[in-house]
Amino acid sequence: MSDDILELRNISKSFDGMKVLGDISLSVAKGEFVSIVGPSGSGKSTVLRLLTQALRPDSGTLLFDGAPLDEAPHSFAFMPQRDALMPWRRVIDNAALGLEVQGISRKAARAAVAPLFERFGLAGFENHYPSELSGGMRQRAALLRTVIQTQDMLLLDEPFGALDALTRTQIQEWLQGMWTEHRWTALLITHDVREAVFLSDRIYVLSARPARIIREFHVPLPRPRSIADLGSPAAQAIETEILQTLLHPQET
């Protein structure tokens, strides 16, 4: 595809002689929401850490907009597994962190994020510290910090794994709505199959270590979606098939 913004070709990575990523090839098109699901410990997060260049691949190429990642001017907005909010910064300053690092003054960065608090369900909590927020609010604050950076692409590393089931569903529904509005290019790492089906245009399924892509799914559900759509036959079929692939990879 020509509109691929991100492409990974035959990426492999080992830690201390243990092969974590076997041979990963995948692509993300502009404005597309792509998920990677896989069993835990399969090296899902390693893929993201290669993209943020916290790690280097042993072999293979990472392409951004057709050019090697280290040469191409690119910027990713990364959301780590835990919210990684700074306990010493007020919520508004946590949300504005990315802008501040980009060199925008604290005052201007605050002014830029403040109007979004309402939409992120954080109105009135601008001047609170993260320890005063509930888990769901913390995740929304971390998401706000991620999307405000207006980068080329969002990288989400199991962002809702630590939340209780109800809060997780709420925030997934909310994120789906936000995504439909903004059409961010996004790569989501998750082990939650329903989450992947609900949010994604496309899903890659990883094998256990050493991770390879064993299947790729297109999610044909229309946008905007609601949680009720997960009950549709199409969604059910995909969810079941992904679970089958994950649980019994040799039979597929």
Binding site: F78, A84, M86, Q149
Partner: protein, 244 residues
Amino acid sequence: MLAACAFLAAWELYADLSGIKPSILPAPSRIAIQGWLNREMLIANTWPTLGATLGGFALSLAFAFAASILMDFAPFMRRALLPIFIASQTLPLVAIAPLVVLWFGFGLLPKILLVALVTFFPLLVALLQGYESTDRDIAELLTSMKASRWRIFRLARLPSSLPYFFAGLRISITYAVVGAIFAEYAGAARGLGIYILNAKNNFRPDLVLAAVVVSAVLTLCLFGLTLLIERLAMPWQSSGERRR
């Protein structure tokens, strides 16, 4: 609190009833009365001790911050300097204090240097440990934002070190007053240390103990001050507690 009262009462009774001489073991009441009668001298001798404590502490703080930043940015500096600083902590103060007074005279400078010597190390270790305590997710997040090494230090490592820093601060502030008194003991014109030495030589254990009480109160005040500063410097900590 109750135990302290019981101890003081027992001491008072023993001193009154056993017929022991006040020049050997003065009763608490005598210490209080004599301390009050000599309050002007005591207070006059407290100021130089407080000055030496705060001066030495300020020097120690500045030096610990500078050294910790240097060591955080250049691991080889850490390997080179840390053994020297550890060795500095093995020096017996009894031997060093008179020498420092010999080299730098009876003024404020040798006291400041000795206070800095005893308070520097806990601060340095606390800061280094504090930088290391930085949440890996936060550091990686900043790296993904392409923040510079210095930026990461200022935005994440330095604030992460604050709880450790204040723990170190509380430890070293209790050493500081003792260090200053010890330095004065080795030779000074004024100060609680020299006051204690003179009172002892004049067979006035009541005044020695009165001066000890003053130094304890001084340490407690400084300790309370660090708690207050900690509150002000880390408002997010108390706000979290309130919620929980």
